[in-house]
Subunit: 201 residues, 2 copies
DNA sequence: ACCTGAACACCGTTCAAGT
DNA sequence: ACCTGAACACCGTTCAAGT
């Protein structure tokens, strides 16, 4: 062995991301390890450290991928709705659906880097920004008379809320029984919030 | 050594919880380890495993403590307010304040057990339930005409929302600059949601 | 230049052996 | 009965040595 050159650097990077994504989806973020990723790639750990600075690097890049996928899903869901309000609900349900179907990959999004003093890479923060851009656009349609600042704040309030409900529900901390209830709670949040947006001049 | 009997079983349990809490507060949940806890107690790892089934056990018990403390804080904050709406805002600010001051201990609350198939102990779920009870009581005062089911759903929607905003903000994923903005976003959520509760007959 | 394999300092968990 | 110390199978990360 040594000096195989079977794959380009970029190929290796993609292989690592694929392997990591597979392991997270199958066993969860905490079960991820450098050795498992490397072995799934058919390489040794050492090689992984030529591709990424450390494990956190790898994870954040997997998360960026997941976020891109989620963004695309939301975009599709909000594309063709009869009216603006229903677009917000559609996006919310798309979010919940994504979180339910890819629970482990989705929960890695916020599970990771909470205590981090590590700076999130631009690539990742841009994905987050574009997510809020989408929600802002929807809310803009719902209440066109509001200022950009109001809309920005509202988007973060509402979407942070949706995300919070999902986190609690999927880790059994929302104190609810059935999973259908998650949708009800989310509808309550979104519906009431939108009503509030309309009511407050 | 061996057979010291310096401390009762319950004393040992409390020492372990204290040690774990200290380490989480100082270095974060991911830095917690059985060996560190044991060494802080002045015992070996083996002893820890007579007190707890596994590390997750210990963590969930630290979390139950944190939650009890948080509940007490919320109760105090919501105790003496001029009116019901302002009580909700006061509780929200108390929550944000607690999360900011004890970030690592607070984030351990939801960081832990996301992928767990582990059943949460009754002790813990009861703390969660009593938290929602508090929020329900506040919302009940705001809109006394609503059914218990409506209130229950609203409490989970609103409080899940507050929690979601905090998670995102404190892990730099809310796409905001300053920490004061967190309060603004939370006020937007709570204010608009309460307005919505009033507007929807 | 690319990759390996071994090393270092850690993990969670178990359990025979000591008092 | 209580506690230790060593063991097992893992970690993340580094880096000399091989091709």
């Amino acid at each position: 062995m040594a000096r195989r050159n079977d794959h380009s650097r970029e190929e290796l990077r993609q292989m690592a991301l694929d392997a990591a994504q597979f392991i997270i989806e199958a066993q969860g973020l905490t079960a991820l390890s450098a050795r498992k990723v490397a072995s799934r790639m058919g390489y040794t750990v050492g090689t992984l450290y030529r591709l990424f600075e450390h494990l956190d690097d790898l994870i954040v890049q997997v998360n960026a991928r997941t976020l891109a996928e989620l963004n695309a899903t939301l975009e599709r869901a909000a594309a063709d709705c009869p009216d603006a309000e229903r677009c917000v609900h559609a996006a919310t349900h798309a979010y919940i659906d994504f979180a339910s179907r890819h629970t482990r990959r989705w929960s890695a999004l916020y599970e990771h880097g909470i205590e981090a003093d590590i700076q999130l890479p631009r690539h990742f923060t841009e994905q987050i920004a574009s997510m809020y851009d989408q929600v802002e656009a929807l809310l803009q349609s719902v209440t066109p008379q509001r200022s950009a600042e109001d809309i920005a704040r509202a988007a973060r309030a509402l979407w942070g809320g949706v995300q919070g409900i999902c986190v609690l529900a999927l880790s059994d901390k929302l104190d609810i029984d059935r999973i259908e209830t998650l949708s009800e709670v989310a509808d309550s949040l979104v519906g009431t919030y939108l009503a509030g947006l309309g009511a407050r001049h």
